[in-house]
Structure formats: C-alpha cells, structure tokens
C-alpha cells in the first residue's frame, strides 16, 4: 500500500518515524542518566556518611517512636506543655512578622530602583540588582551567626538577618512584578503631567499590589521557618526551646514544641494559600 503513496509522503513518514525514534531515545537516555546520577550519588554518600543507609533506614522511626513513648509516659499533663511553650511560639512569630514587615518595606524601595521601566539610568538598576543579589544569596544563618557573635544572644541578630534576606529575595520578585506591569496606565498618567511619584503610586503600585501581597504572605511563611531555625543557634523563641529540650532529652516537651510548630506551619500554609488564591483571582 505504501508504494501507492507519493514519494514525498513516504519520505515525510520515514522522517517522522526517525524523529520519533530519536526523541524517545533521548528521553530514555536522559531518564537513565538521571537515575544513574542519583544512584551513583547515593553510593558516594554511602561512603561519606557516618552510618550506612541500610543501618539508618530501619532506624528512621526510632526517634519519633522514642518521642511518642516519652510523651505517653509523661501522662495527661502533656496538654499543659502546649500552653507553656505558647509564649515562645508567639515570640518566634513576632520575630518573623516584624522582619517581614521591615524587609518588605526595604524590598519595595530596592525594587523600584532596580526596575528598568522606572529608572532610566542603567548603572543604578545594575547596582541595586547586585545589592539585592548579595542580600538574597547569603543564607540567613550565616549573617545571623556572625551577628550573634557580635551582639550577643538575643532576637535582634535573627531579625536583622531575616530582614536582609527578605529585602533581597522579595526585592527581586517585586522588581519582576513591576517590570511586567502594563505600560498604558503609566503613559496615561505621564500624559496628564503626573510626577514620578504619582506615576508609581497610581500607575505601578495599583497594578502590582496583588502580586506584592502574594509574595509577602509567602515570604512570611518562609520567615517563620527561618526564625525557628535561627532560634536553634541562639536567637531565642521556640527554636531555642526545641534545641534545649532535645539536648536534655525531654521527649514530652520536644514533641509538644514540634506539635506547636507543625500546626502553626500547616495553619499558615492553608491560610496563605487561601489569601494568595483570592488575591490573584485563582479562588474557585
């Protein structure tokens, strides 16, 4: 039957077949390569690790079981522990909230100066972008550790570290949002003789605000995790309590703190995804 087809059609069909073959070989090879990388990586890790994976995997649930058994033995007063550590949780949330607020403010100013559609000077944009890159790239932990050494143990170093990181990370997202706004409102305002500030206020901020808020809420969630981790190294709050209780092997306290943390994070996760979706009109 093929012989009855015009010659160029046969050519096309053969071409298509060989293309399909090459594509499937490529995807097969890439998946095989991925698996090979992971497998060989795990073997390398096996040699570098203190405990072998075959020893470690069965022990995966040992610690959680220890924790549950310990808190079971602690008895019914376990509920009171939740209340006991609530103030620490609040102080951690306070740290995160405050640094998110200040960081967002800084990010807003940084982002305005690093958006090409608002600033004519290319050098200014470049400098502000590099500043944001550097702020963003340092893990909070590095800044916080150095500041903790300099300022002593308190919440302050953590707050500063989170502010710096937030300013960089949000600034980049904000400036992307600003650069993606519609030009027309800005041009319209300009044609009425609006000043630079008015153009930003009514032409840019009004358009980008939903995105700004979306990103800020997402960042707040990330910052709560960050301030918990920084508590571990001495910034106070629930992270520090968790660290101490783990060191002292107080299982009931540890699990109470973990419970508080996880429920906060999950609650915030649901809340923020609800807010986010309603802000960008995704809510069904």
């Amino acid at each position: 039957m093929q012989s009855s087809l015009p010659e160029n059609l046969i050519k096309i069909e053969n071409n298509l077949k060989s293309l399909t073959r090459t594509r499937s070989i490529y995807s097969f090879l890439s998946i095989a390569a991925l698996i090979a990388v992971i497998y060989s990586g795990l073997i390398v890790a096996e040699t570098g690790n203190a405990t072998s994976i075959w020893v470690g995997l069965p022990k995966f649930f040992d610690y959680p079981i220890d924790l549950f058994v310990g808190s079971w033995e602690y008895g019914y007063r376990w509920n009171l522990l939740l209340l006991e550590y609530l103030p620490d949780l609040i102080s951690t949330i306070n740290m995160a909230l405050f640094s998110t607020a200040i960081g967002t403010l800084l990010a807003f100013f940084l982002s305005i100066f690093s958006s090409r559609n608002l600033i004519k000077s290319k050098t200014t944009v470049l400098i502000f972008r590099r500043i944001m890159d550097i702020c963003r790239s340092f893990p909070e932990l590095v800044i916080a550790l150095v500041l903790l050494y300099l300022l002593g143990k308190s919440a302050l170093p953590a707050v500063i570290a989170i502010i710096i990181h937030t300013a960089g990370a949000l600034g980049k997202l904000f400036s992307e949002a600003i650069e993606n706004v519609e030009k027309n409102p800005i041009e319209g305002l300009e044609s009425c003789g609006a000043s630079w500030f008015t153009r930003i206020r009514f032409g840019v901020v009004t358009q980008a605000l939903p995105l700004f808020l979306t990103y800020t809420i997402l960042r707040f969630e990330i910052n709560i995790r960050a301030s918990t981790i920084l508590g571990f190294v001495g910034a106070g709050g629930i992270g520090e309590q968790l660290y101490t209780n783990i060191q002292w092997k107080y299982e009931a306290d540890t699990i109470a703190i973990m419970f508080l943390l996880v429920s906060t994070i999950i609650a915030l996760d649901y809340l923020s995804s609800y807010w986010r979706k309603s802000l960008i009109g995704l809510k069904s």
């Binding site: 991925l34 990388v37 992971i38 990586g41 795990l42 390398v44 890790a45 096996e46 570098g48 690790n49 203190a50 405990t51 994976i53 470690g56 022990k59 995966f60 610690y63 959680p64 306070n94 740290m95 909230l97 405050f98 607020a101 890159d133 550097i134 963003r136 790239s137 340092f138 893990p139 932990l141 590095v142 550790l145 150095v146 050494y149 300099l150 300022l151 002593g152 308190s154 919440a155 302050l156 707050v159 997202l173 992307e176 993606n180 995105l211 995790r225 918990t228 981790i229 571990f232 992270g239 973990m258 943390l261 996880v262 994070i265 999950i266 996760d269 986010r276 960008i280 009109g281 995704l282």
Partner: protein
C-alpha cells in the same frame, strides 16, 4: 465641567466612600501600633548597648588583615618569639640567643639596633624597640618624644614619660596598651611584652607557613610547575603545588572545598530525588488523571504532611537515624520537596487544558498515551522551572542543614565562628557560599530561559496565567 460638577455627577467614582477610608486608616494605624510593640518587645532600641564599634571593627579587621606577633618575656629577654598570628606552629623566629646572631628566617621589618635591641618597624613610620630591661616607642604619630616603658620594683609596668601622654595609651593596673590605630598595638604586661603588627590581605592563602613552596609565591610556583627543577626531589612540582595548596594548614582548602562540594551534592541529589518522586506521585493526586478519590486524598494529605513537618524537624529525625553525613541533608531536602513539588505539580496537572488530551484521545490513544502527550507537554515547563528554582534555594538550605549537624560547609562555618578567632576563614567560607549560591542562581535562570523561553515568573504567577488562558 468644573470640579464641583464632576463631584456631583460622578460621585460614585470620584469620592472615596467614608467606610473604605476608615478601613485603610485603621489598617495603617494597626500596622504602626504593631511596629511599635514589636520594636519594644524585640529590644530593637537596645541595639546601641550591644553594638560595640570597637569589637566590630576588630572583627572586621580580622577578616581582611592578618597580624604578626612579637613576644618577649621579661624573665628571658634574649628569647624573642616572632610568629604569625601568635601560632606556636608558625614562628618566624623561635626562642634564640641574640649572641648567636639573627636566625635564618626573620621578617624584613625586624632588625637589630646599635645596642643589641630588637627593632620592629611599623607602617606608620614608628619603631618599637625591645631592650633587655625596657621597651621604647619612637617616632610614633602625635608624639615627638620617645616613650619608655619599664617594670617598677613591684613588677608592674609603668611609663617613664608621665606628662602629656597621647590619648591612645591606656594604662590599667596590670597592663599598658598602646594602640594609635587599628594596625599597630603594643601591650606591656608584668610578665611579657607583646607587639602586634597588622598587614592587609590574607597571608599564606596559597601555601601555609611551613610549605616548601611558600617562599616562591603562587605565580612563581605555577610557573615552576611547568618548568624548572624539582623543589622536592620525590614529587613533581605540579603535584606538590596541588598537594601543598589543598593541605594548607591555615586555610584548610582541601577540607573546605570538599565540604562545599558535599553541600552542593546534598542540594543536587536531594532536589533530583524529590523531582523523581514528586513528578509521578503528582499524577496520582490529580483528579483528571486518577479517578479514585481515596488514592487522591491519601496522597494530598501525604504531601501536606511532608511539607508541613518542617525541614528542620525532618533533619533532626534524620540526624538520629543516619548520623552526621550527606544522607541527612539529601533526605531532608528530598522529603520536604517531594511534598512541595507533588502538591504544586498536581495542581498544575489539574489546571491543564482538556482539549489537548481530548485531541490525543480522538486518535484512539489509550490513557497512558493521552497523559503522555496531552498533559506532560503542558506541565513540563513549570516542572523544570520549579525544580531549578528549588535547586537554588536548596543550596542555601543545605548550608543550614549542614550547620545543624549534617556536615558540609555549614558545619565548617559554624566551627570557624565558634572559635571566635579565625574570622578570615569565616570570611573566606562566606564568600565561597555566596559565590556558589549566585552561581546556582544564574545557572538555573539560564537553563530555565534556554528550556522554556524568557519565563522568569514564580510558580504562583505561572499557575495564574495557565488558568486565565
């Protein structure tokens, strides 16, 4: 139309309603009140009490400068020790007898004066001279006369020139400290005299103090490795160069670079594992692929649990199981991100257009082929860009997990900070981390752009765009 007419006719557009005005006022007021409370509760105003500029500037100095110590004990004025950073293992000059003449290796800023004293010259043009029974400082800024420090009968240090002492001399009961600027410092104790002389730069960065290649410097050492006689007859110059660089005792290049690799490795492997697990699981959690509600709900809750139990807690649990090492980092990242990627991807799959899948179905393709050609092409760009984004943020995460005990550069950094003295190493490692994170960031942005065009937006926006289409 004049202003009042406009307001009259278009009041619903022009005039802001009182209630919405009130609302925004209350919001702003609330934010201000919160900020005040937070500033008070977080002790922000106490910052000036904790912040000591002196300590901070000393710390900053230590990150970019190094110092040489000259120590003389009053009891043994003949034994002068000149060392790098006061380390016992890197002494230019150990205890020696002056009568034997100067030892072979002495810094060019020391010399022996006419009366047999050891002269130390500073960058400010001044000298500190160590005699057997006194220490003098001459030609220093702000003072014309030569200051003489001796021990009194009780063995306490004192200054002979008690009149018009410069401000930078601080006299306490047991110690006299002379510090005109950050770069020079003479401390006279009742037992010993210690002179610190600062130099800019990271000294012995390439080769440590005892290395046979140290006298050559890095560039000469590199050119030596291609030509010239062997420095060490047993080993070629090039291998010696690599070996001496990696085994540098002061900067621990080998150890730090290995730790850095370990951190990158944790992030890379963790993200890949998460991608490998999360991608297929996402299909089972999407309603347009999996008809069984039971399976979907279980997977959804699983994703939520993996994500909700923070990566901090996962790494604590994993540390108990696997001990310090890369597994903790790899699995903590993989577990958390399987949840995140799974949730994100299942949402993306549910938001894909049906038409493409229907088109594939109309050719008589079975379900698997429908998903392969109807759904995967639609979500692949988001999946790749998200995975690359997580790779970058996981590099930072791996540093943090490392500091909590999993090893890698994070642990090295924590160790260096806790010693409180090796700030140049802290700076070095911070710069390395910064470089790696920026590298990962640019690379992932480039790959993303090459694969899916100029799409730099975050996941939420991509999802929003997909739905609005």
């Amino acid at each position: 139309m004049n202003r009042s007419e406009i307001i009259e006719n278009y009041s619903d557009i022009v005039v802001t309603k009182f209630s919405s005005k009130m609302w925004s006022t209350f919001l702003v007021l609330g934010i201000i009140v919160y900020l005040i409370i937070a500033i008070l509760s977080l002790d922000i105003l106490q910052i000036h009490k904790k912040w000591s500029p002196e300590r901070a500037s000393l710390f900053a100095l230590d990150t970019y400068a190094h110092k040489d110590h000259v120590t003389m004990k009053w009891s043994k004025p003949d034994d002068i020790i000149i060392s790098f950073e006061g380390s016992r293992w890197s002494q230019y000059v150990g205890p020696y007898q002056k009568s034997d003449g100067l030892p072979e290796r002495y810094p060019e800023w020391t010399s022996i004066g006419p009366e047999g004293e050891t002269k130390i010259s500073f960058k400010n043009g001044g000298f500190a001279n160590l005699y057997d029974d006194k220490v003098t400082i001459e030609n220093w800024p702000d003072t014309q006369e030569t200051l003489v420090f001796r021990l009194d009968a009780q063995g306490k240090p004192y200054v002979e020139n008690i009149d018009n002492l410069p401000k930078w001399i601080r006299i306490t009961e047991n110690k006299i400290e002379v510090r005109p600027s950050l770069y020079e410092r003479v401390q006279v104790y009742s037992k010993k005299v210690e002179v610190h002389r600062y130099n800019l730069g990271w000294n012995y960065f390439w080769f440590d103090f005892d290395s046979p290649l140290e006298p050559y410097g890095i560039w000469n050492a590199i050119s030596l490795s291609f030509s010239g006689d062997r420095v060490d007859p047993n080993i070629s110059n090039f291998s010696l160069l690599i070996q001496e660089f990696l085994n540098n005792d002061m900067w621990h290049h080998g150890q730090i670079l290995w730790a850095l690799l370990e951190t990158i490795f944790m992030a890379l492997l963790g993200t890949l594992l998460a991608a490998l697990l999360g991608f297929p699981l996402a299909f089972f959690a999407a309603y347009n692929v999996t008809p069984f509600k039971f399976v979907r709900t279980i997977l959804r809750r699983l994703f939520d649990t993996l994500r909700g139990i923070d990566f901090l807690i996962w790494s604590l649990i994993l540390l108990r199981a696997f001990g310090p090492g890369p597994f903790t980092g790899i699995f903590a990242i993989a577990i958390t991100d399987t949840g995140t990627l799974g949730k994100l991807m299942s949402e993306a799959i549910e938001n894909t257009e049906e038409k493409q899948q229907e088109g594939v179905e109309s050719t008589g393709a079975n379900k698997t082929l429908q998903h392969r050609f109807g759904i995967i092409p639609q979500i692949l760009p988001i999946f790749i860009s998200q995975t690359l984004y997580y790779l970058e943020s996981n590099t930072r995460g791996a540093v943090i997990i490392g500091a909590m005990g999993a090893g890698g550069i994070g642990l090295q950094l924590l160790g260096a900070i806790n010693t409180g003295t090796s700030w140049e190493n802290v700076m070095y490692m911070s710069l390395l981390i910064l470089g790696v994170v920026i590298f990962m960031d640019t690379m992932s942005a480039k790959v993303r752009r090459a694969l899916i065009g100029d799409e730099t937006l975050g996941a939420e926006l991509q999802l929003a765009k997909m739905v609005k289409k």
